[in-house]
């Protein structure tokens, strides 16, 4: 491995998982750059957790390869996983042990975790997720949100190069969600690559630099958040009493008008929507559309450029299953 170009934090080629005749993960090629906060999106049952299980060596791939931090998995589980913190499909703890005892048990399973700092690291991890006060309480007395936090603490027992967090905000209240977001931001600022799976788009949109979208076992899109958003066409929304003239002007500027209005003056303001050519996207902001419209004698009573949200993109790619109002 050369120091100049570190291998991606996660890289898969044709990663596939079949259970019997059912293909749960279908030949995905995933690349998670180092240092990114990577959102792994998809509706429930789209194969996110199965993919994570294969990445962590819990399940074997039916075909294809997966690399974590530049090392082939699952062959290098013993050496790679100490550098990876993970939360997989909800927290799992022995209910009859305290939160601290549960963490100590996980820590003792890691051969690379230094014994000398054991107690201090457990205390610090608990403190980081705000569970210090409940450290000696048995986990069976924890709420779902507290268990979720304890799961996060388990992922933070030693400094990690990569965090794989499956639905980290599940069961958390809005404050907890906010705390997890800021925790992820601070970890990312410290150089840790964070791979977060979620079906909550707002979450991803707020914290991620990159994202990938799964649908029915396939990877339907991946890239930077901006790539994903701008892959949808931005739209111009114009409020004018001169629809016909406006449509002509917009067409001259290279925009495609959705529903060309009838000629003549409208009795009142009319909304006209038009799309940019996606190839012209970069020009979108610089085209001085309003000035041109005014120069053409169009009265402009309202004007905005609307970009599709990640949610629009998500729904466009994954189809049914999400109830979204227009």
């Amino acid at each position: 491995m050369t120091a100049a170009a570190p291998a991606p934090a996660i890289e898969t080629h044709g990663l596939t998982k079949r259970f019997g005749r059912q293909t749960v993960v279908d030949a995905i090629d995933l690349t998670v750059p180092r240092g990114s906060v990577f959102g792994f999106l998809g509706p429930n049952g789209s194969g996110k957790t199965t993919t994570i299980r294969m990445l962590l060596g819990l399940a074997s791939a039916s075909s294809g390869t997966a690399q974590l931090l530049g090392h082939e998995m699952p062959r290098n589980v013993a050496t790679v996983l100490p550098r990876v913190g993970a939360l997989v499909e909800g927290p799992g703890f022995a209910p009859y042990l305290s939160g601290a005892a549960n963490l100590s048990r996980l820590d003792s399973a890691d051969l690379y975790a230094p014994r000398a700092t054991h107690a201090a690291r457990v205390a610090e991890a608990l403190d980081r997720v705000g569970l210090s006060a409940a450290a000696s309480k048995k986990v069976k007395a924890y709420s779902l949100g507290m268990k979720q936090r304890l799961g996060l603490a388990g992922a933070l027992l030693t400094p990690r190069d990569l965090l794989v967090l499956d639905e980290p905000t599940n069961g958390l209240d809005p404050q907890g969600t906010r705390e997890v977001r800021s925790l992820i931001r601070s970890l990312a600022a410290g150089g840790t690559t964070v791979f977060v799976s979620s079906h909550l788009l707002a979450e991803i949109e707020q914290i991620c630099t990159h994202a990938a979208i799964m649908s029915a076992g396939r990877l339907v899109a991946q890239g930077t958040l901006d790539d994903l958003r701008y892959a949808g066409q931005p739209r111009v929304r114009l409020l004018t009493p001169d629809p016909a003239a406006a449509a002509r002007s917009l067409a001259r500027l290279g925009l495609a008008v959705d529903e060309p209005p009838a000629a003549g003056l409208a009795p009142r303001d009319v909304v006209i929507e038009a799309r940019f050519d996606p190839a012209d996207d970069a020009r979108g902001e610089s085209l001085d559309i309003v000035a041109r419209l005014v120069a053409d004698g169009v009265r402009v009573h309202g004007y905005s450029v609307e970009r599709p949200s990640l949610e629009d993109r998500f729904v466009a790619l994954t189809g049914e299953g999400f109830d979204v109002e227009g």
Binding site: L58, A78, A109, Y112, T158
Partner: protein, 294 residues
């Protein structure tokens, strides 16, 4: 994979925080044993086992005449003359069912219990290593076998000492040994029975890797212990008797003769080792290739 290899492999990628040297890894065994003995279930089972010889001693104390009827386990009527026999009677009573029952619970729970609690995936991601986890779990079950046998023997010795006179013990061969030596003999019997349970523990460990439902694994292990004894009691099947893991379970009588005969101890140890090797290998084969979906 040896520890030295893993350390070497890490060195080139040494930028990561885990580039530190691997520890010896005894910590996991330590926590496993401490977790075992922090469970209320473990103490409940050890307590139930300890009650068996106490109940026997109290019953014999209350109605000494009834024990001379010839029914009941061997040397039951000897308790009244010497309290040191209580431990031996307690072990004889516990060997066929109570001990296999508790060992079946612990051994059947090893992997399946972690799977059902959702802790298995976190231990493996830590990473505990699959073979290492199996080894630690088996050693934990073995420690429980020692604890279970000792709790019967110790509770029996204490109850006997409190309720009956204690003195030199007459062995099965007719020789008499001192109180001190009889304690050593009792511990040897406890060791014999502990060894007897190691094969069953290996079977339980293997069954535990097959399912995510701990109760199923426990029940299957206990049923096998009973089936093995039933088969061992059918004279028509005497060809397979020496291969049944319960075949020598009552063979500790040889340790109560003068001089001690180690034959059955050796045969038993060899048989249990065979079960350990076969079912240990099956457990490894199954567990290292298993998809952990719990």
């Amino acid at each position: 994979m040896s520890r030295a290899e893993t350390a070497d492999e890490r060195a080139p990628g040494g930028s990561g925080p885990a580039a530190a040297r691997a520890t010896l890894g005894w910590g996991l065994l330590g926590t496993e044993i401490s977790v075992l003995f922090r469970r209320r279930r473990t103490w409940a089972m050890l307590g139930a086992l300890a009650i068996v010889p106490v109940l026997i001693a109290v019953a014999v104390k209350l109605r000494p005449a009834a024990s001379a009827s010839g029914r009941g386990p061997a040397f039951l009527d000897q308790i009244t003359s010497n309290g040191l026999f209580v431990a031996a009677v307690g072990l004889v009573v516990c060997v066929p069912l109570f001990l296999p029952l508790t060992v079946g619970v612990v051994a059947g729970d090893t992997i399946a219990g972690e799977a059902s609690a959702g802790t298995l995936r976190y231990l493996l991601v830590a990473p505990a290593g699959r073979i290492r986890l199996l080894a630690v779990k088996y050693l934990g079950a073995a420690v429980f076998c020692v604890a279970a046998t000792l709790s019967v023997a110790v509770a029996g010795a204490l109850a006997g000492a409190v309720l009956f006179p204690v003195g030199p013990v007459t062995l099965l061969s007719g020789d008499t040994i001192s109180v001190g030596e009889s304690v050593v003999r009792s511990l040897l019997v406890a060791l014999f029975i502990t060894v007897s349970l190691l094969g069953l523990s290996a079977i339980g460990l293997f069954i535990s890797t097959l399912t995510d439902v701990p109760v199923g694994a426990m029940a299957a292990t206990i049923v096998l212990a009973v089936v093995s004894q039933v088969l061992d009691s059918l004279p028509q099947l005497d060809a397979i008797h020496p291969w049944l893991f319960s075949h020598y379970w009552f063979g500790f009588g040889d340790l109560l003769r003068q001089p001690i005969s180690w034959d059955s101890f050796g045969s038993n140890a060899l048989l249990q080792l065979g079960y350990f090797v076969v079912f240990g290998a099956l457990a490894c084969g199954r567990f290292t290739t298993k998809d952990i979906l719990s």
